[in-house]
């Protein structure tokens, strides 16, 4: 009975309640209270991480290296466990615990929520909406998200999965942009459809386990893992399809993805960041937590389908992203391309690919979190989400440009950024067993460079221009289409007045200052720099030294591969049977 996880779920929920009754407090105080509550899980995440790390050498020592062997009585899949009876009639328990995958995701949530609150500090909300309610819902979302990742009972996982929708629905529907109602309804219907499928599958799983176990049905992860290989394939396929559909919608994979651009773009920036950065990973997390280990035969049988959808997602997401005109929708489509990489890593059954997929979930949260928040700050300044309304922002806001560039580089997975490690692991792990899929996916890394640098060029480079930067009047003078394409001077004698015919960039090749049109707004504020800096630092740090995160993920990745009934490489095998405890 370890109280850490219940506290990490409960404290943000308490915070949410406090925010509900905070109408009479000054707004500033209320905001600080919310920030305080959001920092508590971050503080608690430290002992959670340390406890898990210390338990690593013995974590899998008790488990047999093959999933078919009978497991010992006490399974130590999870650390910091907490379990009480909940619905004894169905053997449902309120069980929490973390393994390497959920640990890093919970840490990501605990880190992102305070950052999101800090970034939303002066968010402009729709008329009549209070920031107290907004922060309260974000806290409620945090508690629910931690609950999803910490649940070690399938029923609890399902409940948390559905509970998570509620704050997000209100965040989009009440605090979002112009088309918020449409987006929120679409988001809710999609998720609900997935949730219902999952409920049906969950009941099926319970019944199937009751057929096998003499002591009756169960929904406990560890117990289900032990009997997973005994569920007949036909049953597995039915159960799998329900879960997989729910997760494919959540992830989202093509063709279940069209809710995400709407929801992501219409959601207020903070909620959108959590939606794209964390909430969507529940889908891929579900693949790794439920589909692979609990339904191994079905996962193998249908892996080709998910590889296909993943690779389509990588290529199609990238191509569609390149054609977006709305900068927030653009970021969501880049995410769809990246979810393709994560999904691919889940379904090739090698340690490297699964490790890479999990690391990718974290890294994508950091990189896209940074990009999404920056885009929010940009669009809040300019008042427009249209790419065409911006230009030359680097000169106006150099720090914003620099941060955006770092986020872009992480999206492109340039070495030295965190995403490189995860993309590399996914691809190298895929190539060793499925070279054709890996080659197709590798084309995606060129496309990523194309779309990301195109956006960077469009918004941040060139002369300062665009109605969102200079205001509608100024944009007519210095604006859009009449910038010179090259600086090579036209060969003409000096009497030729060609040089006054077009609007010039505002510095010459040596930067000799020429009068530059005045932008309506400036660079990031100190608060904005402060909230984004942790993300930037982590992006670089985890690119150079990913070992602290990888060493937590790697054993559980190997374990997941073994549980899915796949042969695992020799070193992971050794690790699992405890001969090489603690690398």
């Amino acid at each position: 009975m370890n109280p850490l996880l219940p506290l990490m779920i409960g404290l943000p929920l308490v915070g949410a309640l406090v925010m509900m009754f905070s109408k009479n407090l000054p707004v500033r105080t209320a905001k600080f209270i919310a920030l305080g509550f959001s920092l508590l899980p971050l503080v608690l995440a430290v002992p959670l991480w340390i406890a898990h790390r210390n338990s690593l050498p013995v974590r899998y020592a008790d488990l047999p290296a093959t999933p078919t062997a009978t497991p010992p009585g006490t399974l130590s899949l999870f650390s910091s466990t907490f379990s009480v009876d909940w619905i004894p009639a169905f053997g449902v328990r309120f069980s929490l615990g973390v393994d390497g995958i959920s640990l890093v995701m919970i840490a990501l949530i605990a880190l992102l929520v305070p950052i999101v609150l800090g970034a939303s500090w002066e968010e402009k909300l729709p008329a009549g909406r209070s920031i107290n309610g907004y922060f309260g819902l974000l806290l409620a979302l945090e508690g629910a998200m931690i609950g999803v990742f910490a649940a070690t009972d399938v029923f609890l996982f399902y409940v948390m999965f559905e509970v998570m929708l509620i704050p997000m629905y209100f965040l989009i529907g009440a605090y979002g942009g112009v088309r918020r109602t449409y987006a929120a309804t679409k988001f809710f219907l999609y998720s609900l459809l997935g949730g219902l499928m999952m409920l049906a599958s969950l009941i099926g799983l319970y019944v199937a386990s009751a057929d096998i176990r003499p002591e009756g049905g169960t929904l406990d992860f560890a117990e289900l893992r032990a009997i997973a290989s005994q569920i007949p394939l036909s049953t597995q396929l039915w159960i799998f399809s329900g879960f997989a559909l729910a997760f494919a919608i959540k992830a989202p994979l093509i063709p279940f993805h069209t809710w995400l651009p709407d929801a992501g773009a219409e959601a207020p920036t903070g909620a959108g960041t959590l939606l794209v950065g964390v909430l969507d990973k529940v889908g891929t997390f579900g693949f790794l937590r439920i589909c692979l280990p609990l339904l191994p035969a079905a996962s193998h049988k249908l892996a080709w389908l998910f590889l296909l959808l993943a690779v389509i997602g990588i290529l199609y997401g990238a191509i569609v992203a390149a054609g977006q005109t709305d900068i927030k929708r653009f970021v969501t489509y880049t995410s769809i391309a990246h979810f393709g990489f994560i999904a691919m890593g889940c379904f090739v059954f090698t340690t490297q690919a699964v490790s890479g997929a999990v690391l990718y979930m974290v890294n994508h949260g950091l990189a896209t979190g940074l990009l999404f928040l920056l885009v929010g700050m940009l669009t809040a300044r300019g008042g427009s989400r249209q790419l065409a309304d911006y230009g030359g922002v680097w000169k106006v806001a150099p720090i914003m440009g620099g941060f955006f560039l770092i986020g872009s580089l992480a999206t492109i997975a340039v070495p030295g950024t965190n995403s490189f490690i995860s993309e590399f692991l996914v691809l190298i792990g895929t190539f060793r067993v499925q070279p054709v899929w890996a080659v197709l996916a590798t084309v995606g890394i060129v496309l990523a460079a194309v779309y990301m640098l195109w956006i960077f060029q469009r918004v941040f480079t060139g002369p300062v221009r665009g109605s969102a930067v200079l205001g509608p009047a100024a944009s007519d003078i210095a604006g859009g289409g009449t910038v010179p394409v090259t600086r090579t001077p036209v060969s003409a004698v000096s009497t030729d007045p060609h040089r006054v015919a077009v609007a010039e960039p505002h510095t010459d090749a040596h930067g000799h200052a020429a009068p530059r049109p005045k932008a309506l707004w400036g660079d990031l504020s100190k608060r904005e720099i402060a909230v984004l800096t942790p993300l930037v630092v982590l992006i670089v740090f985890l690119g150079v030294y990913p070992k602290p995160v990888l060493e937590v993920i790697d054993p559980v990745a190997a374990r997941t591969v073994v549980d899915s009934g796949s042969p695992v490489d020799a070193i992971s095998q050794q690790y699992l049977i405890g001969q090489e405890a603690g690398r």
Binding site: I254, P255, T258, Y316, I319, V320, G323, T350, T351, Q352, S355, W394, V414, P415, G416, F420, I421, F424, L425, L427, I428, G429, F431, R432, P435, A438, T442, I445, V446, A449, L453, W454, Q457, T461, G462, P463, V483, P484, T486, R487, T488, P489, S491, A492, V493, S494, R499, T507, A509, H510, G511, A513, K547, E551, D554, A557, V568, D569, A570, S572
Partner: protein, 650 residues
């Protein structure tokens, strides 16, 4: 016998001593400079360039110390810094290896790098973002050093993309200019295409050999099938083509001249673009096993050196002439590394001498631009020799070196490659050697043309103004710029003799890339030297007759032969990219966006609309009349009965 230490390649010794134990500083110093300058903000505007330059000079000093230690007493060494990407049986360490090949590059990068840093202090003196410029330069030096020092293909890849990033940032440094931003993106994307090749090669190595370190891969090549080895060789070549501006990925390099000229000198002439040559030389054990792969490398080199020198003949932009010259000279190096068995060393010699004379030429061009209000159009220049005497002297040294004037650098480094090409034997030898020979003549032609148009003839600029409306007042550059130029010019004159006489360098690098075996082709060495000199002389004279004897028109003649038009249009490179990649890409994007909005989302929306319509229809039945409910119940009962009958009796 030293004890086996994990992660230490065979033939290398761990636990470095002497200067070598500070090898990691080579990476840390420049990267620290980059971070300091970027994070430090405006406070460092006044001293940032000094810090940056000082760090590169310090790295050069460390490199020199290491070089002598390794050379005189230690032998090849390696250093494991930390565990980088551990996952399952994949264990990629972050290690550096110091041997003849990597130390050569360390000295080239930090040496030429330091000179160009110093030059940039003057060249960028008036730029408001000079601090950022030096930060990027330091970033480049760090990434390039990682590229050559890494002990495995993944570290190399990290450096490889790192230099690509630095190149992107520096090409687009004047981001105000849309052309600079476009060129930067083009460079990055085309490099990425090459990087895919390198990445796939790494994946294939892990699949086949279970490791990605140089020593691990090279020691297991014997177990691999010839198909695997050829595939690896071609994938690596794709990466090399991207980085080194070789056909078919050459089109980005001339555009990269949008960057400040010191960048062109350092990155796009002396160091980064030669990384492809380094990659192939480093992978010598692999290429030695695949004659097919080597032949493709040779063909790429030969085609590129011809196309590059043809395009160079028609360009009026002084930097683009030099850029195509670089493309063509790297073609020579590719040709040489493709010839294999010991010719690698000759390629590296040419790489080094090219580093000197091309950097000198580019810095000279920068000095000319400095004098000419940043104009690059040679048709607007002329008669600058007397105005810019030092620049003229430096560029003359570089010019004589590149055309292979007897006893200067190019003479010692290029002629052996031409000889080796002829010695390849048979038709292959004649074709490759002939191309190399012909391109030597073309090189003499376009370089002479460039020198004449810039420095001789009428001072055409007297009647002209630059694009920003100023008159031209050409003046010599300050000493902070001319001194590095002079040092490079000395290298351009003497480096070839120093490195090539007695095969000094070739023997030095032999432990890494294999010993040099002199083969004799159908023509004697003397005959080839004479032939080369004759062709060079023809090129010089032709250029003199065409451009020195008559006035150069300020506007490029419009009515020219198709050959000139083709050369002006970048020998078709951009047109091919445009037709094969850009247009279909744009078309595909538009189509996909349409499909996504109308097709997939449309289907969902349609489903919702259909459901709504259905509900609307059914709603009518709920009209509150008992009689209609009774009717519907009866209808239902009838359907049920009918269904029962059908099931029962069919």
């Amino acid at each position: 016998m030293t004890q086996m230490v994990a992660g230490v390649p065979s033939g290398y010794v761990a636990a470095p001593e002497g200067w070598v134990q500070y090898g990691w500083l080579l990476l840390v110093l420049p990267i620290a400079g980059a971070i300091l300058l970027l994070v430090g903000g405006k406070k460092l505007d006044r001293i940032g360039h000094v810090i940056s330059t000082g760090l590169v000079v310090a790295a050069f000093a460390i490199g020199l110390g290491m070089f002598f230690d390794l050379e005189t007493k230690l032998g090849p060494m390696s250093q494991q810094l930390f565990d980088w990407i551990p996952s399952g049986d994949l264990d990629i360490g972050f290690g550096l290896q110091y041997d003849a090949l990597s130390m050569t590059f360390v000295l080239l990068i930090t040496g030429v790098g330091a000179l160009i840093h110093i030059y940039s202090i003057g060249y960028m003196a008036h730029d408001p973002e000079r601090r950022k410029f030096f930060a990027y330069l330091n970033l480049f030096v760090a990434a390039m050093l990682l590229l050559v020092l890494g002990d495995g293909f993944v570290s190399l890849y990290a450096g490889w993309e790192g230099v690509g990033l630095a190149s992107y940032l520096l090409i687009g440094f004047w981001s105000d200019w849309p052309s600079a931003a476009t060129a930067a993106k083009k460079a990055f994307v085309m490099n990425r295409v090459g990087d895919v090749g390198l990445a796939l090669a790494i994946f294939l190595m892990f699949r086949e050999f279970g490791t990605t370190s140089f020593s691990g891969v090279f020691s297991q090549l014997g177990n691999a099938s010839s198909g695997t080895i050829t595939t690896l060789a071609l994938l690596l070549l794709l990466g090399a083509c991207g980085k080194s501006g070789q056909v078919p990925l050459q089109a980005w390099l001339p555009d990269a001249m949008e960057g400040p000229t010191p960048v062109s000198a350092l990155i796009h002439a002396a160091t980064m673009v030669t990384a492809g040559v380094y990659l192939i030389a480093r992978s010598a054990p692999l290429y030695d096993l695949t004659p097919d792969g080597q032949l493709v490398v040779c063909i790429v080199g030969a085609v590129t050196l011809m196309l590059g020198s043809i395009a160079g003949c028609a360009k009026d932009d002084i930097k683009k002439v030099l850029a195509y010259s670089t493309v063509s000279q790297i073609g020579y190096m590719f040709l040489a590394v493709g010839l294999g068995s010991g010719v690698y060393g000759l390629a590296i010699v040419h790489l080094l001498t090219h580093g000197f004379f091309k950097a000198a030429l580019f810095l000279g061009a920068g000095s000319v631009m400095h004098a000419m209000n940043d104009d690059v159009d040679m048709r607007r220049m002329g008669g600058l020799a007397r105005r810019l005497p030092i620049t003229f002297g430096v560029m003359t040294c570089g010019y004589l070196a590149i055309i292979g004037f007897p006893f200067l650098s190019g003479f010692y480094s290029k002629d052996p490659i031409i000889e080796a090409a002829f010695a390849a034997g048979g038709t292959k030898g004649w074709v490759l050697g002939g191309a190399a020979l012909l391109a030597a003549g073309l090189t003499a032609f376009y370089m002479t043309r460039m020198m004449i148009m810039t420095f001789f003839g009428d001072a055409r600029w007297k009647d002209l103004r630059s694009a920003d409306g100023r008159e031209y007042h050409p003046h010599e550059s300050p000493p902070v710029m001319t001194i590095p130029m002079i040092l490079l010019a000395v290298g351009a004159l003497g480096a070839g003799a120093f490195l090539a006489i007695d095969h000094r360098y070739v023997d030095y690098v032999a432990p890494v890339v294999g010993a040099f075996e002199e083969e004799h082709g159908p023509l004697s060495a003397l005959a080839i030297t004479v032939l080369t000199l004759v062709l060079v002389a023809i090129g010089v004279v032709a250029a003199f007759l065409l451009f020195g004897r008559r006035a150069v028109p300020v506007t490029a003649p419009a009515h020219v032969s198709p050959l000139v038009r083709w050369a002006r249009a970048d020998v078709g490179g951009n047109a091919v990219n445009e037709t094969l990649v850009a247009r279909p890409g744009i078309w595909l994007t538009r189509m996909s966006v349409y499909t996504d909005a109308k097709g997939i989302d449309g289907a969902v929306g349609g489903l919702a609309a259909g459901l709504g319509a259905l509900s609307n229809g059914w709603k009518r039945w709920q009209n509150g009349f008992v009689r209609s409910y009774a009717l519907s119940m009866m209808a239902g009962a009838v359907v049920l009965v009918l269904a029962l009958i059908v099931v029962r009796y069919s």
